[in-house]
């Protein structure tokens, strides 16, 4: 694996290799000395041209635990705000000696352009590009689901996939790179994926995605899913009116206390206790109620912890990759 750009072109074998490697990284994260020498002497640049806390911190922790040198770069306070082009910025970073560029960009397709342009030799890891893809988030979600599934079956999760699981992704599918990346990855790993959203928040062409689509959250919940992934209502991307009011959204599309109780009592296809996932940050009272946000079946913090393991695995695999082998 040379770059990680999206989950659409990530095959089953590669996806499992990342998850299995992350499993060993998770073991390292649980021990006293949380450090591995596998990226010693390599430089990872976190190029974040869009605001982010958890993804940047997570990538930074991951790179440091593998002994890489980390350079953090954000648009604010840099030459980017003076109008420097992406090409000039990354070539500057390459001249400093970046071996990998972890990039968050507001524009869809930016990571792919960087990887294919030939501007730099560095490995490119997409940390979110516009509304297109956020592959490490999808991988950490899949990792979290796989661990829950294996845990409920009492088996070792290494080498297993998500066959038999039903996952509902709810909310702003239109603007969500997390949803896009998850639909393809979870499908690749054998899960049954359903997206539930108001028609105004579904993109054109959603019919060609490897998932089912419903306009009713209650219908989706009646199918007894194993996981409900609540997407954040992205106020910053909502230029127009996509739904009448916040109250209306919560009534139809929020995981309210009643819906959460129903989800819990019905049980899932393979998990007795369905889980509630959220990529964070949560809008409490809008898309998710307090009961669901604070429940032990909510995996938000587990997802954050798993994110470090997944990003360690991805950085290890893209940087310790022999192009000739």
């Amino acid at each position: 694996m040379r770059h990680l750009l999206s989950t659409v072109d990530l095959g089953y074998e590669d996806a499992l290799a990342i998850l299995d490697t992350a499993e060993e990284m998770a073991a390292v994260n649980e021990r006293e000395v949380k450090k591995l020498p596998s990226l010693r002497g390599r430089t990872v640049v976190n190029l974040f041209l869009e605001d982010s806390t958890r993804t940047r911190i997570s990538f930074e922790a991951a790179a440091k635990r593998l002994s890489a040198d980390v350079i953090n770069f954000s648009a604010k306070g840099s030459s980017v705000s003076k109008g420097e082009s992406l090409k000039d910025t990354v070539q500057t970073l390459a001249a400093i000696g970046a071996d990998a560029i972890v990039m968050r960009h507001w524009s869809s397709g930016a990571a792919q352009q960087l990887a294919e342009s030939g501007w730099v030799d560095a490995a490119v890891v997409n940390a979110g590009d516009g509304t297109h893809a956020h592959p490490t988030q999808a991988l950490l979600d899949a990792f979290t689901l796989r661990r829950r599934l294996a845990g409920s079956r009492g088996v070792d999760s290494t080498g297993t996939d998500l066959t038999g699981m039903r996952v509902v992704i709810v909310g702003d599918i239109l603007h969500s790179r997390v949803a896009r990346s998850n639909v393809w990855l979870l499908h690749t790993l054998g899960a049954d994926v359903v997206v539930a959203a108001p028609p105004t928040l579904l993109p054109v062409g959603v019919g060609s995605w490897p998932c089912r689509v419903t306009y009713s959250l209650d219908e989706a919940l009646a199918e007894r899913p194993d996981a409900v992934m609540m997407l954040r209502v992205q106020a910053e991307r909502m230029g127009g009116a996509f739904f009448p009011s916040a109250g209306e959204y919560t009534r139809s599309w929020g995981l309210t206390a009643e819906r959460f109780a129903l989800l819990d009592s019905r049980g899932g296809q393979v998990l007795q206790q369905p889980v509630v996932m959220h990529p964070g940050p949560m809008n409490r009272g809008l898309e998710i109620c307090d009961a669901a946000a604070d429940s032990p079946h909510n995996t938000v913090l587990e997802q954050v912890a798993n994110g470090v393991s997944i990003r360690m695995a991805v950085l290890h695999l893209v940087l310790n990759n022999d192009p000739e082998a």
Partner: protein, 200 residues
């Protein structure tokens, strides 16, 4: 290092020379178990860590034999495995394989006498990686090395404390260790030398 399980058996047999049979391996492991107990003066604080892949079943077999000789040794609580993939110095050049789990006995490594167990000792680079991995897991009182075969050609100042068989080889040859745990129950345990060029 070690056997290539993907090679068809018939190909391996063509240029192959068996240097240790299944019974030989069993006798060698019994001797090493005695030597470990002798040098350690009993089974006190003894931990066996196998290096994947074939060091792991060898460590388990050694553990069972040690427990038979000295019943105070609890094999289930004293045998583990140590993956060194992420500590290798050739990560950038070789296609990295997915790391195997590391399992350390609950008591931890602090103050223990850790015996690393591997199948073939060759360049010594795997052992160097293992020493780094051990240092990140704790501070043992001592670290020893047991290997089924020492084939020479060391690239680092490393030697084994317990050797099953010293095997003078040429670098063109390959040493395969075949064990039923890792290579399928239909094969017999053996250590086989093949000519790498004929094999290719």
């Amino acid at each position: 290092m070690g056997a290539d399980p993907t090679a068809p058996r018939s190909d391996r047999a063509r240029a192959a020379r068996t240097v240790l049979s299944g019974a030989d391996i069993q006798r060698v492991l019994t001797r090493i178990a005695h030597e470990i107990l002798e040098s350690n003066r009993g089974a006190q604080d003894l931990i066996l860590l196998g290096i994947p892949s074939r060091g792991v079943p060898l460590a388990q077999r050694l553990g069972e034999i040690v427990a038979r000789i000295d019943p105070s040794f609890d094999a289930a609580a004293s045998v583990g495995q140590l993956d060194v993939t992420l500590y290798r110095d050739d990560l950038r050049r070789s296609t990295s394989r997915t790391p195997a789990p590391t399992r350390v006995p609950d008591r931890g490594l602090d103050g223990a006498v850790v015996v690393l167990v591997d199948d073939v000792l060759f360049s010594g680079r795997t052992v160097r990686a293992a020493l780094d991995a051990v240092a990140d897991l704790g501070r043992p009182a001592a670290v020893r090395l047991a290997t089924l075969v020492d084939r020479g050609h060391r690239e680092l100042p490393i030697r084994a404390d317990f050797v099953g068989k010293n095997l003078p080889t040429s670098t063109a040859e390959r040493v395969h260790v075949v064990l039923s745990e890792t290579d399928g129950t239909d094969v017999e345990d053996a250590v086989v030398i093949t000519d790498a060029e004929k094999e290719a």
